[in-house]
């Protein structure tokens, strides 16, 4: 769509930083491994907003920003599938998915 952008780049980058901070909060404070995975998805989305925003404001002549986002989304899908498989296996082994109760490798 062919409009002139009136929102400053700082707004997008600040939004992305806030979203990343929220996702990081989820990764740090939640006990359920699936909730930790949700936090990681939020952080990946924050990165994607940054990629597209900088592409739009700095480099529309080349497409690297959008190519990065496509690759990040592919890897996010792969990461979610593998992480859920691991979580299922952990649940079978420990009968819990709380990350602070899974301490087999704790010294």
């Amino acid at each position: 769509m062919n409009w002139v952008t009136t929102v400053p780049l700082q707004a997008y980058v600040t939004l992305s930083a806030l979203l990343f901070a929220i996702g990081l909060t989820g990764v740090l404070i939640r006990r359920n491994a699936i909730a930790v995975l949700l936090g990681i998805e939020l952080m990946l989305n924050a990165a994607n907003i940054n990629f597209v925003a900088f592409w739009r404001y700095r480099a529309t002549s080349s497409m690297e920003g959008q190519v990065f986002v496509v690759i990040v989304m592919t890897l996010a899908a792969a990461e979610a599938a593998v992480a859920l498989a691991i979580i299922l296996n952990v649940y079978r082994r420990f009968k819990t998915v709380n990350v602070d109760q899974i301490n087999l490798m704790k010294g």
């Binding site: 929102v7 780049l9 404070i29 989305n45």
Partner: protein
């Protein structure tokens, strides 16, 4: 008069900041609900409006194809996958379960410090002025870039996806009858 108003509406000077604010609220408030919701099913469902708002931001930035991929892959794929993961584990509906681990306050403190640092860095920079209108053939150029210049990365990503899917199947497979369960 009506024509001029319509032009102003279409030109983006009027509704673009408004749309950005609405979409920003639509990203951040559901994101907070994702992190602080006690019920993991609700947390996973709150991810949906957050991801759809991110797709709206992509449209606002002129990346319509990415918005479509975002809705298809994230909302249609990853959220459903996560809901299946929630269903296959336990303890989700228990209201008395402890949601946060012992590092709640240290975690919040660290994240607040991170947000302050990032925002200091943001205000310290010189920012480029808003750019002009986009060239019209963005999606066609994205396809060109993916299938010519970056075809190696594109194909490698598909190989990684295949390997990850097969690996996930192998890892998640229930041990069959005569087989020793993996330790």
């Amino acid at each position: 008069m009506i024509h001029a108003l319509w032009q102003a509406l279409l030109s983006g000077t009027f509704w673009q900041p408004l749309g950005f604010l609405l979409l920003a609220a639509g990203v951040l408030l559901p994101a907070l609900a994702v992190v602080f919701s006690r019920n993991i099913v609700r947390a996973a469902l709150w991810l949906l409006p957050c991801l759809i708002s991110v797709a709206g931001l992509f449209v606002l930035l002129g990346a319509e194809l990415l918005a479509g991929i975002q809705v298809l892959v994230y909302c249609g794929g990853i959220v459903v996958l996560i809901l299946f993961g929630v269903m296959l584990t336990y303890g989700v509906g228990d209201p008395d379960i402890r949601v946060y681990n012992q590092q709640l306050w240290w975690g919040l403190l660290g994240v607040a410090a991170f947000a302050v640092l990032v925002n200091l860095a943001l205000t310290a920079q010189l920012w480029p002025p808003p750019p002009g209108p986009l060239p019209p053939d963005v999606t066609a150029r994205l396809a060109d870039a993916l299938l010519k210049q970056y075809v190696l990365a594109f194909e490698l990503a598909s190989v990684i996806l295949l390997v990850a899917m097969v690996g996930a199947l192998v890892v998640a497979r229930a041990p069959s009858a005569g087989e020793e369960p993996r330790q």
